[in-house]
Point group: C2
Chain length 255, copies 2
């Protein structure tokens, strides 16, 4: 791992768990910065804008610039902007801000793309009907993520994936997924990092989206035993991390 | 067609369109009854109980007994009752009545099956989360139908299918579908009709669920040019009806 020249870090479960920093994580990040190792943060969160994510991390004591954070909304906004396309957002929180800041035209009618995030309570029969009709009228389905569920306070909660699947089934159209583990997401992160895949490592707690996704792009995958890590998932996933470490606190010494 | 000894009829689009009887349909049905030809009605409607469907048809002038009507809810209720299983209903209207009349135990917690119909506005993030957790805890997904959409007053509306797809995606479990075109549905109808597949005909306006479904069970499929019939669908579906007639009014003369 001594030839790693740039690091991609997942956020939830790696830098923090349950809203509190993982012990040693603040210091590990500071150590990487001291060495001049470029770092980017890859989150699949679709409920917060990049600015909100950065503010939250700073509140936990991490030294992070907003431009270092890549979320599916940021990637989707860049894509729509680059292609001159309009979007209709099925998102909550202040995710909309990422699209506004990128200069994407948000349409309530006949958009080029229906952008589906983890919209929680916003998902209603009425709104899903509207989205379905937009797709039948020609809009593409742009999935910010296709996770099945996320772990809420009292049990699993539906993520964006099931609603993307519903729209796909209703319309017969396939969604384009832009979050982890899509190769486009990792490629965008590498470009921002300024390091080729062979010189980069992805640090994550999700063996499929973080480790599997990175490895398919030629990026080494380092799994941490924090967050959603489970010994069982590691042994049954069929994915072999390049390295497994106890937590992100161990990162400086192995690089 | 002279050897047809029993007839299965779709309702919406065949006997009536937009809440009004198809011209000649009342008389055609009366003619079949005069000849002593057994008739059963197969609807994929999941928003009304069998009793409500019968009352509605009688209001249009059709002579129909409730026991002659087979809906996915009636079939699902019979299946759950036969297997001694409990169900949690994602349905609206008075569909619940079919389950109560069959003696099925309806559970709000840890059911054996989550029964998904076209539940319209009832579908909410909260309710879908509850259903997903039930499936993750071991319940099966029993789909009353898997249609994509139905045509509402102001455009297409999501049917049960997309929500079934969402639950399947979220849980990794496959739904069992009990409505048309499932073979189990046609088999149940034939048993009630008392006629083998080779002696029966299915009259419908949906080339896939009515005609394709029936033909896969060895039942002849007669397509009507009423309801959702479209010349284009007929030519592109790859399904070849045994006969195409203008409307159900033509039925007596061809049998």
């Amino acid at each position: 791992m001594k030839d790693i020249r740039g690091v991609l870090l997942d956020l939830d479960g790696v830098l923090y768990v349950g809203g509190r920093p993982v012990p040693g994580a603040v210091e590990a990040l500071a150590s990487l910065r001291e060495r001049g190792c470029p770092v980017r943060f890859l989150s699949n969160s679709t409920r917060r804008s990049r600015a909100s994510v950065a503010a939250r991390l700073r509140g936990m004591g991490f030294s992070i610039g907003g431009q270092e954070i890549l979320t599916p909304a940021v990637a989707a906004a860049a894509m729509l902007r680059g292609e001159g396309k309009t979007g209709f957002l099925l998102t909550i929180g202040d995710t909309r801000r990422d699209f506004e800041e990128a200069g994407v035209t948000l349409a309530k009618d006949r958009p080029d793309a229906v952008v589906v995030g983890d919209a929680g309570d916003l998902f209603s029969y009425d709104l899903l009907n509207r989205a379905m009709r937009m797709v039948l009228s020609g809009a593409g389905i742009l999935a910010l993520e296709k996770d099945r569920t996320w772990m809420g306070a009292d049990g699993p909660m539906l993520s964006a994936g099931p609603f993307v699947a519903a729209l796909e089934y209703a319309t017969g159209r396939q969604a384009f997924c832009i979050g982890k583990p899509s190769p486009a997401f990792f490629t965008t992160a590498l470009q921002s990092l300024g390091v080729p895949a062979s010189g980069a490592a992805m640090i994550g707690d999700d063996i499929e989206t973080d480790i599997g996704g990175a490895q398919r792009c030629g990026i080494r995958g380092i799994l941490v035993r924090t967050g959603k890590f489970r010994e069982e998932t590691l042994s049954t996933s069929g994915i072999h991390p390049d390295l497994v470490i106890d937590s992100v606190a161990d990162l400086p010494e192995i690089l």
